[in-house]
């Protein structure tokens, strides 16, 4: 590639920002520098926007690829690329990070430079996961994201932060070990079956494995599928691997929760799409119904457990278990509708749940509690805040006209049509939509409705900074809800290649 290495630019720019944090700037200046750095990343990523930018909506394969030899002796290369599956997730990351950093302006006051540095490092890590097209490079970014998040929770978290962050780290790390093993097996076996040279090039491995299964037996391939699945299912998190999430969320600082829910949970779902489906078509079909069952259990279970929570953050955390269940259901419906919906729903969940954690953070800043019972009557004292919160809550419970509905409905169309899942999955999954209304409006009732009490009487409405954070989110929530076609269209060729009628997944059934 002789042209601008745009993906590398997007990928490493945040890290440059993080390095700037080494300069002993005053706290306020450091925050501004960090914000500018993340904004710069966002602006550069805008160059990708289809139609006006570099991304071509009409090709299925990888675009804007960059390849550089890194460790030739092990067949590890620095290889980046983007396609319809990762485009909006990259955009989500670059969009959400500046908003999150802006939220630290009012909520972070200790060791500011370190905090912002970790936030920016995290951005590079997450972007790396979405952009890497080499198995080993992917793994490095995958694990790398753990480090800044580990410190964000461990240093700036709540009372039980150590427990939460160690649990988060070890749990997700354990799952990843299996994936590392599978990656090494794939690289080595690929080498043995072709040139004799170990190779971790994802595209090459995918092509070879789809052609002849790399000479591996069906059983081996299924085990490899499960090894990837372990890492991704924990990250999503799917039921019953979710128990690290409520702890991590409740203890994490607001900005950490926003990124955790907004982007990091999507790394797992993205992994399914990038690795499990294309690498192991047969195993995917074999396991899809079982995974569908887990997804549906997660949808219902997460919603049920969310309802009685006293800690608002925990309620939102369990709602993520429920919502991510929809995403997984859509993926393993193995229909174009299902995958379309799943990818859009990842973005939607990032926006609405990210926003939910922000609004919880805003009132936490004011009263230093997240006890649902401590609030009440905010609709009276904080009308603008309550109005914006209502929109976000409605987006999260899937009200038509807002983004969440488009994603969930499309997933449901895909699930209903699916040859491997079908109507029982759609029917049980849909009950989660009823339950979402129950627990979210219950929270709204407890916090916003009712009369003001001593605790809430003097709460001031949203500040300008808070408004500046929420407005862009609300604009997208409404925008995607009313006009989703442009988002879907850019994904179409890549999804068609993945699960369309001519794809390996469907053709060889």
């Amino acid at each position: 590639m002789t042209s601008l290495p745009i993906l590398s630019l997007i990928l490493w720019l945040p890290l440059v920002g993080a390095l700037l944090m080494l300069v002993p700037l005053p706290a306020r200046t450091a925050k501004i520098v960090a914000l500018l750095a993340s904004l710069a990343v966002f602006v550069v990523s805008l160059l990708l926007i289809p139609g006006i930018g570099l991304f071509n909506s009409h090709t299925a394969g990888l675009q804007l690829t960059e390849t550089m030899a890194w460790i030739p002796s092990f067949g590890i290369n620095y290889r980046l690329g983007i396609d319809g599956i990762s485009l909006w997730l990259v955009m989500l990351t670059t969009f959400l990070t500046p908003l999150t950093i802006l939220s630290t302006f009012e909520s972070v006051s200790t060791r500011v430079r370190a905090f912002e540095a970790f936030m920016l490092m995290l951005e590079t890590g997450m972007l790396g996961v979405f952009l890497a097209q080499d198995l080993f490079l992917f793994y490095i970014f995958w694990e790398f994201t753990l480090v800044p998040m580990y410190f964000l929770i461990g240093i700036w978290g709540g009372q039980r932060r150590i427990y939460a962050t160690v649990k988060f780290f070890l749990y997700t790390f354990t799952g990843s070990v299996f994936m590392l093993l599978a990656i090494i097996v794939l690289g080595v076996v690929y080498g043995r079956s072709t040139s004799g040279q170990v190779n971790f090039d994802l595209q090459a491995v995918t092509k070879a494995i789809q052609a002849n299964g790399l000479g591996l037996s069906q059983t081996t391939l299924r085990w490899l599928f499960l090894a990837f699945f372990a890492a991704f299912a924990i990250k999503v998190p799917m039921w019953p691997f979710h128990s690290w999430l409520p702890d991590a969320h409740t203890e994490a600082p607001t900005a950490g929760s926003v990124i955790l829910a907004g982007v990091m949970l999507k790394l797992g779902a993205y992994g399914f799409l990038r690795f499990n489906l294309p690498l192991f078509p047969e195993a995917t079909h074999f396991f899809a119904p079982a995974i569908g069952v887990l997804a549906v259990i997660g949808i219902i279970y997460g919603a049920l457990v969310a309802f009685p929570q006293k800690d608002i953050k925990k309620l939102v955390a369990y709602s993520s278990v429920s919502h991510m269940g929809f995403v997984v259901l859509g993926i393993f419906a193995l229909t174009p509708e299902g995958v379309h919906g799943a990818i859009l729903q990842m973005v939607n969940h990032g926006l609405s749940t990210g926003a939910l954690f922000l609004i919880v953070g805003f009132i936490y800043e004011r009263r230093h509690t997240r006890d649902i019972e401590a609030f009440g009557g905010l609709w009276k004292v904080m009308p603008v805040y309550s109005f914006l919160s209502l929109v976000i809550i409605l987006s999260s419970l899937g009200l038509p006209g807002l983004n969440g509905f488009v994603g969930e409905a499309t997933i449901m169309f895909g699930t209903m049509k699916s040859a491997v899942l079908g109507w029982p999955f759609a029917a049980f999954g849909l009950t989660g939509v009823i339950l979402a209304a129950v627990y979210l409006l219950w929270m709204f009732r407890k916090v916003m409705m009712g009369d003001v009490n001593q605790n809430t009487a003097a709460m001031r409405d949203v500040t300008r900074t808070e408004l500046a954070i929420l407005i862009p989110l609300i604009v997208l929530i409404i925008g995607i809800g009313l006009y989703a076609s442009p988002f879907f269209r850019t994904m179409d060729p890549s999804i068609e290649a993945l699960v369309g009628p001519g794809s390996k997944l469907v053709a060889n059934r």
């Binding site: 039980r160 749990y171 128990s243 929570q309 109507w423 076609s485």
Partner: protein, 646 residues
């Protein structure tokens, strides 16, 4: 075509404009009311222009299908944001903007002393927008957008006085009950997409018989017909939105909202969307006689149960609320029978006279300083004569007294029950249940008028007064409608004249039977209504009651308490709520922390990481892990870095 495209867009955008203007620029209640009413007047004018345009087309060409833009395009799934104008949606537009405008104007006076009038008008305009989208949708998903949109506005309006626990409970209940219904509707929509590959009405209904005929799906108890399954699921949605058994319990509670909102949403328009849904999907319902009979039966039962419950209420609005449930039962029964014109005819007349009754009840409450208990009223006729007379007009129309609007429309429905349909035959039992319910209707309305307006004022702690002209003028207009509304579909005594609505609908409900007018049935029902009305009048109008009296018929009818609680219908809701709470609390307090997380922590302990499971926040462990990780990371990265340099 292009003209109508523009007109329809303008129509939907107008109330939305009111929402935007009032949300962002208006802080003063009366101004907000004027803005909201202004856009409604404009919307009504636009609707009339649309009507003229539509009538200008030949009857068989009166179907205008326009796409504004592509809402969702996900692979094979294509959902346009599009509108369908035909005689069916046309009459709904007239009802929504016509009655809606009057209610908006009325609200200016009614909400003058409210704490948050601007919000109220925002919700009201948003409701109209959603309702217009619902009836204009040209596909299922846009319909669903309107369907849930009106539900949201209903939730917001019921919860207007969110300081009060009653309003909080009622709003949540309304939303969740509606969502249960929406679950059924959405599942039906999913099924339709699976089998038709599209969601557009225009592409589905003509092919309904071909695609669904003879198709079965496997269910737990064996195969069931595809059309039956879809219709049944759709009916769950109808039961939720149109308050049918078993999902009706939210509607009486919804009276916690402001009274004009009840008039618009919980009487005239939103709650009738279920009836509209069945009418819109008549091509599919026609394929499932089993579901049609089921729908008719549920409708008739609802009509009876709710009419009985209305007798047992002391709250002026609750009587009307149960009455609405009952009348919706009539409409649903008619739709189930296949008498779509009769259902829509009653939907229209009911929309007028029930809106009238609610607004007049609002005027009573307003003039009686927020008293709603009829036992504390009495003799209000003298203080509010205009309200009284309009109320009487509404009551006569509702009771089906000749020549008021309700007489004609209710009679069409009862006639349909005795009509011999080729597929499903006659339905004499349903007919008898409906006639009895009509009798009960006359009784509870006579009771209400006697208790509210006649006799002497039992609680004299307040001074009742007549309402201002912006409130009474809409009442008078609606009272005229309640009197002459039957004209739109009078029976055809002279060939070629009458049955205007039926002929207007002919292109929509092709092949649906016209119900011949039966003087015998009409006479019988009228006599029964007059007798029951007289009985109610005699029971309540001639005695002096104390302010906290027990209803006299409770001595004759042991089941009176069952009427009061609508046969304990709230109990079963409570049963489900308790079950839900118990399950949720077991999962969150025991199963999740001790079961799932217990396993995780147990496993961690097993491999020697004892500190993790106990979680006492030992900072030593953090340092250890950090150290281990950093050393590992440095080793790995160093190794590869070294390898790269080599």
């Amino acid at each position: 075509m292009d003209v109508l495209y523009t007109l329809l867009t303008v129509l939907v955008v107008l109330p939305l404009l009111g929402v935007v203007v009032n949300t962002f620029f208006i802080r003063q209640g009366r101004t907000a009311g004027l803005v909201a009413s202004g856009v409604m007047v404009a919307a009504f004018v636009v609707t009339l222009v649309i009507l003229v345009q539509l009538l200008g087309l030949a009857p068989e060409k009166r179907v205008v299908d326009v796409t504004l833009y592509n809402w969702i395009e996900a692979g094979p799934l294509h959902v346009p944001f599009g509108f369908l104008l035909d005689p069916l949606s046309m009459v709904m537009l007239l009802l929504i903007t016509g009655v809606g405008t009057l209610i908006h104007i009325y609200s200016i006076g009614y909400m003058a002393h409210d704490a948050r009038p601007v919000r109220y008008f925002v919700y009201l305009n948003l409701f109209v927008t959603s309702m217009l989208i619902l009836v204009l949708a040209n596909n299922y998903l846009v319909l669903f957008l309107g369907w849930e949109g009106v539900g949201l506005c209903s939730y917001l309006l019921i919860g207007s006085n969110f300081e009060r626990k009653v309003a909080q409970d009622a709003s949540l209940k309304a939303f969740v009950m509606n969502r249960i219904g929406d679950f059924g509707l959405m599942l039906a929509i999913l099924g339709i997409y699976k089998h038709f590959g599209t969601l557009n009405f225009g592409a589905i209904f003509p092919r309904a018989a071909e695609v669904m005929g003879g198709q079965h799906i496997n269910f737990i108890g064996g195969p069931i017909g595809l059309a039956t399954a879809i219709c049944f699921l759709m009916f769950i949605g109808v039961a939720g939105k149109s308050a049918q058994i078993p999902l009706f319990v939210w509607l009486p509670d919804a009276m916690a909202g402001p009274t004009p909102a009840s008039a618009l949403i919980h009487a005239a328009t939103m709650v009738t969307s279920g009836v509209y849904l069945i009418a819109r999907n008549h091509a599919i319902f026609a394929l499932s006689p089993a579901t049609s009979n089921f729908v008719a039966t549920i409708g008739a039962l609802t009509a009876f149960v709710a009419a009985s419950a209305a007798i047992g209420q002391y709250d002026i609005k609750k009587v009307l609320a149960y009455s609405t449930v009952s009348q919706l039962g009539f409409m649903v029964a008619a739709a189930g029978l296949g008498a779509y014109t009769a259902a829509l005819f009653h939907l229209l007349t009911h929309g007028i006279f029930k809106a009238l009754l609610f607004l007049a009840a609002g005027a009573v409450i307003h003039g009686a300083h927020d008293v709603q208990d009829m036992r504390r009223m009495g003799g209000l006729k003298r203080a509010m004569p205009r309200t009284y007379w309009t109320y009487v007009f509404g009551a006569l129309a509702l009771s089906g007294i000749f020549p008021f609007a309700g007489f004609w429309s209710k009679d069409d429905i009862i006639g349909a029950a005795f009509h011999n349909y080729p597929e499903t035959g006659t339905h004499p039992i349903i007919g008898v249940i409906l006639i009895v319910s009509a009798g009960l209707t006359a009784f509870y309305m006579a009771r209400q008028i006697a208790l509210v307006f006649h006799g002497s004022q039992r609680d004299t702690s307040y001074h009742p007064h007549e309402s201002e002209p912006t409130m009474t003028l809409p009442l008078v207009i609606l009272a005229v409608g309640a009197l002459i509304g039957g004209l739109i579909n009078l029976p055809s005594f002279v060939p070629g004249i009458g049955e205007g609505l039926g002929r207007f609908f002919e292109p929509v409900f092709v092949g649906s039977d016209a119900i011949p007018f039966s003087p015998l049935l009409a006479g019988l029902t009228l006599v029964l209504a007059l007798a029951m009305g007289y009985l109610g009048w005699q029971t309540y109008a001639h005695r002096t009651w104390k302010a906290k009296f027990r209803d006299p018929i409770s001595r004759f009818i042991p089941a009176f308490e069952a009427f009061e609680t609508a046969f304990g219908s709230d109990e079963y809701v409570q049963f489900f709520i308790r079950g839900f709470r118990a399950t949720a609390s077991f999962l969150s307090r025991i199963f999740d922390p001790l079961g799932i997380d217990g396993l995780v922590n147990g496993a961690a302990r097993l491999v020697g990481l004892s500190g993790v499971g106990v979680g006492r926040g030992q900072s030593g462990y953090l340092r250890n892990y950090t150290l281990v990780f950093l050393v590992g990371a440095v080793a790995v990265i160093g190794y590869f870095g070294f390898a790269a340099l080599r």
